[in-house]
Subunit: 329 residues, 2 copies
Amino acid sequence: MAKPGEAPTMKDVAREAGVSLGTVSKVINGIPVGESYRKKVEAAIKQLDYHINAYAKGLKNNRTYTIAVILPNMINPFFGIMAHYINRALVRHGYRMLLCDTDYDYAKEQEMVQMAEQNKVDGIIALTYNPDLKISQNVRSVSIDRCLGGNTPCVASDNYAGGRLAAQKLVENGCRNLAFLRIGSALASETNKRKDGFVAACEAMQIPCVCKVLLDGTPIEEFEQFLRDNLTDGRLAFDGIFCVTDKLAVETVKMLRRMGQRVPEDVQVIGYDGLRTFGDGDYYCSTIVQPAEAMAETCVRLVLEETDTNTPSLLCLPVSYAFGGTTKA
Amino acid sequence: MAKPGEAPTMKDVAREAGVSLGTVSKVINGIPVGESYRKKVEAAIKQLDYHINAYAKGLKNNRTYTIAVILPNMINPFFGIMAHYINRALVRHGYRMLLCDTDYDYAKEQEMVQMAEQNKVDGIIALTYNPDLKISQNVRSVSIDRCLGGNTPCVASDNYAGGRLAAQKLVENGCRNLAFLRIGSALASETNKRKDGFVAACEAMQIPCVCKVLLDGTPIEEFEQFLRDNLTDGRLAFDGIFCVTDKLAVETVKMLRRMGQRVPEDVQVIGYDGLRTFGDGDYYCSTIVQPAEAMAETCVRLVLEETDTNTPSLLCLPVSYAFGGTTKA
DNA sequence: GAAATTACGTGAATCGTTTCATGTTTTGAT
DNA sequence: ATCAAAACATGAAACGATTCACGTAATTTC
């Protein structure tokens, strides 16, 4: 060993094994080398407990095998699930994940993108609702659920089809007066298409449909007010509600029950995301299931692959419906 | 700019600004430098859109401002919450988080520790149930909920006090026949103390208490069998159950209801963790709340601080009780 | 106003890898 | 036995940032 406290370097290994630096490098990188040499080097590596210095390697190779994943918040189970599957796919490809939880802070988010660029990550996967996020063209990037423009392809669930599916299921289950509830950013995101698909399906089926959209940050109580405004003699004007997320659906069910409505007997509710309690239990509510694993794998494939002019700028993955007790079926 | 495609280096900045490398370095690191020089350098940096290369910096400084966080699975909300607060605390200290989701795979976990060591992270925070995890003494480390020995201090909620608190609450609420349910690793972990505290409190209060412990991987149905074995004429032998996690508590409530028991009227159930739906809604069940944020901050403080011989090897943070509908209060 | 002192910018050396032109050894053919 | 070709180990240079011994210019002192 070189100095007791210091980590050994390739030079130490070379000295210990009695070979040259280049030979050690070859052994480490699996480049063919004479049998006897390889054995000597391997012995020395074990002997010194040598670990390669990823920073020196990254400096020389200009590759770090690290992908930055930027998302708003890890407490929200949907983001946790995405992070899990993205991590799994990255590890399978020999990459690591630098995870940046932005805490829904746009400034922090932009900082983290810069940090990622400085860190010379090999790519960025961003799940963000920040409309102004700027990602350098020099680094490979993929976004989830929001198109960022530039060279950044976007992976999303098929929000439009999901909206349609929600409407169809509600109508199949006997609903004749529908409502759509959404809370979120005012800006165009793929998420808006949930509404578009829902409304389009309602029109096609000639079913009346009311939309209530709140801006991010509005207290959730405004929905309760909205619902109460549509209540006459204990009867709600809607018998089917599509909520833009499972989280909102769960809140809505609570509000409805507070108002004396029975779910699903009086009103049926469908959410969007496909979340389950603890990841593997029941669904929180009847829901349109996002293909989280497929989305994660698609992101990873895109961020690692060479892009060409044929790379689509938006990839929509198919959704499905899952019964979760807040509809009749 | 040097070459069109290449990222500019400090050398390019120096040339553009007409100063030396050392001056550029000083400006970047906030070391005082003549006003006119600083301005020239700052202009050049903006002009070239220069970003420091974190790998060259890491190589030279032997510090990367990156902490590896190892946890079993990001889908489990408790781990997501811990990751969130750990990330927040790290960012506040100017550090980044390399997150390793091991998917409950011990081999992968050990690999990730090695990867972290290779990557020259400045420290490791590990939340693991692997009894044999080896962490090099050369890297600062902190564990959560399981003491790993060596130089790795452990941060945990006060599991023993939590167990006692659960027993006290159940008895306060009128229970006179208690049970403890646990599923998990056979090996000693801090988590075992939940049982110890619970049992000790029962003895102190002279309340009978039965423990049922299953090994990891056992199908959950075995608990149902256990409960049915304690059912005579529709009456369960227990009127209060403490489950080792909220997840198990939720499953247990489901089983009890399937068996025709009313919760909390016939049987009261308390879990452990303090999880809430979507992070900010209601508790899943009545529960002993782990101080996740305080634990995260303690971990970060420990992993960044210089250790000395006075550093405790185990830090237990206080827990609290939260009502979540599966007890009478 | 000259010498001494301070202030500060400079650039070569360094961190631990990888790469490639070079040199040495081995192999095989004649 | 000799030589050409192939095979393969060698180590200096390079990646980009930091540091520190050095040199130059500005300031102070008597």
